[in-house]
C-alpha cells in the first residue's frame, strides 16, 4: 500500500513537464482572480480523474506527450502575457489539458500498485502543486511581484518549448 501511495505522490512531481504545467495552472488562476481561483481547485482534480479513467482503460488520445508539452507552453505564455481570457474559455483550455495530464497518470500506472493509495497520492500531489501556484500567484498584488510572476511564466513556456522540441525529435 505504501508503494502505491509513494508512486502516486511522486508521479506528478517527477515529470518536469507535468510539474511546471500544474504550477502554471495555479498561477494563472490566481492572476484571473475570482471565480477562477476557487473553481480551479474544486474541479481540476475531478476533470483530471476523468482523463485518468481514459488512461487506465487505454483509450488512445492523440499525441499525449506532445499535448502536455504544448500545455506547459500555452499556460506559461498565458501567465507571462497576463492573458485575460473570458472565464468559460479559460476553463475549457484548462479542462482539455487536465484530461491529457490525467491520461498520462492513468496510463503509466504501475500494475502492482494499490489503486486507492495511488489515487490518493496523485490527487494530493497535484492539489499541492496548484496550491504552490496559487501561493506564487498572490505575488501579483505587488507590482514587482507581478514582474517576477511574468518572468516565471516565460521560464515555464521556455521549458515547455524544450519538451515540445524533444517530443518532435528535434533534440535528442
Amino acid at each position: 500500500m505504501a508503494g502505491g501511495l509513494v508512486s502516486g505522490l511522486l508521479h506528478p512531481v517527477t515529470g518536469i513537464d507535468h510539474l511546471i504545467a500544474m504550477v502554471a495552472v495555479g498561477i494563472w488562476s490566481a492572476q484571473l482572480g475570482a471565480p477562477a481561483i476557487w473553481i480551479l481547485p474544486i474541479t481540476f482534480p475531478l476533470v483530471m480523474a476523468v482523463g485518468g479513467v481514459l488512461g487506465v482503460l487505454h483509450v488512445p488520445l492523440p499525441m499525449p506527450e506532445l499535448m502536455i508539452a504544448v500545455s506547459a507552453v500555452i499556460l506559461g505564455v498565458a501567465v507571462a502575457a497576463r492573458l485575460r481570457l473570458p472565464f468559460a474559455a479559460a476553463v475549457l483550455v484548462v479542462a482539455i489539458f487536465a484530461i491529457f495530464h490525467g491520461h498520462a497518470h492513468g496510463a503509466e500506472l504501475p500494475r502492482a500498485a494499490n489503486a486507492l493509495a495511488y489515487g490518493v497520492g496523485f490527487v494530493t500531489a497535484t492539489g499541492l502543486l496548484h496550491l504552490c501556484g496559487i501561493g506564487l500567484g498572490t505575488l501579483t498584488r505587488w507590482p514587482a511581484g507581478e514582474r517576477v510572476i511574468q518572468g516565471l511564466g516565460a521560464g515555464i513556456a521556455g521549458i515547455g518549448c524544450y519538451f515540445l522540441a524533444q517530443g518532435l525529435g528535434a533534440v535528442a
Partner: protein
C-alpha cells in the same frame, strides 16, 4: 521485619511467574479483540478516506443535521459486520469507490443534503465498511468484543470529524470564504480519488 534469602527467592519466583500469568490473563479475557476491532479500520485507507468524507459532509451541513450520525453510523457498522459474516468474503472495492465519488461530488457542489438522505448515505457507508471489516474476522476472534471495538472507533472518528468540520467551517462563512473553498476542494479531491479507484477496479 528481616527478610530471609529463601523468602526473597520465593517472592522473586512468584513475581517472575506472575508476569507471565498476567499477560496470559489479558489474552484469556479477550481484551485483544476489542482493540483489534477498534484499530483495524484505522489501518485501512478505504475506511479512513470514507469515514472522514462522511464526517466532513455531515459537518458542513451543520450540527443539527450531523448529530443524527452519532447513533446511525456505529449501528450501521454493526449491521454491516453482521451481514458480512453472512455473505462472507465479497470485495467491496467498487462500492467504496462509488461512495467516495458520490460523497465527494456532494461536498464539491456544496449540496444541501436533507437529513434523511445524509443518514441513508452514512448508513450505507457504515454497512459497506462494517462488512469489509467483518471479512477479516478469524474463527478464534471474539465477535462481540470485535464489534464493540469497531462501533467505538466508528463513533469516535465520525463524531470527531464532524465536530472539527463544524468548528472549521462556520455557518456564517460566505460562499467565497477560503474555509468554504477548502472544504469543497477536499470534496473534489475525494471524488477524483473515487473515480480513479473505480476505473482501476473495473480495469483490473
Amino acid at each position: 521485619m528481616k527478610l530471609k534469602p529463601v523468602r526473597v527467592l520465593m517472592a522473586a519466583a512468584i513475581l517472575l511467574t506472575g508476569t507471565g500469568a498476567a499477560e496470559a490473563h489479558i489474552v484469556a479475557a479477550r481484551l485483544g479483540d476489542f482493540y483489534m476491532g477498534a484499530s483495524h479500520p484505522l489501518t485501512d485507507l478505504q475506511d479512513i478516506v470514507l469515514w472522514i468524507a462522511t464526517g466532513v459532509l455531515a459537518g458542513t451541513l451543520g450540527a443539527s443535521k450531523g448529530r443524527w450520525l452519532i447513533p446511525v453510523f456505529p449501528v450501521g457498522l454493526l449491521v454491516g459486520l453482521a451481514l458480512g459474516s453472512v455473505f462472507g468474503n465479497v470485495s467491496t472495492q467498487l462500492a467504496d469507490a462509488t461512495m467516495m465519488l458520490a460523497i465527494g461530488m456532494l461536498l464539491a457542489a456544496a449540496a444541501q443534503v436533507p437529513t434523511l438522505v445524509l443518514c441513508a448515505i452514512a448508513f450505507a457507508v457504515a454497512v459497506i465498511r462494517g462488512a469489509a471489516n467483518g471479512a477479516e474476522l478469524g474463527p478464534e476472534t471474539d465477535r462481540l468484543l470485535f464489534a464493540a471495538g469497531l462501533a467505538c472507533a466508528g463513533y469516535g472518528l465520525i463524531t470527531l470529524t464532524m465536530a472539527l468540520t463544524v468548528v472549521f467551517k462556520r455557518t456564517t462563512d460566505s460562499v467565497t470564504s477560503w474555509r468554504t473553498i477548502a472544504v469543497r476542494a477536499l470534496g473534489g479531491w475525494i471524488a477524483a480519488i473515487g473515480l480513479m479507484m473505480a476505473s482501476l477496479v473495473l480495469a483490473s
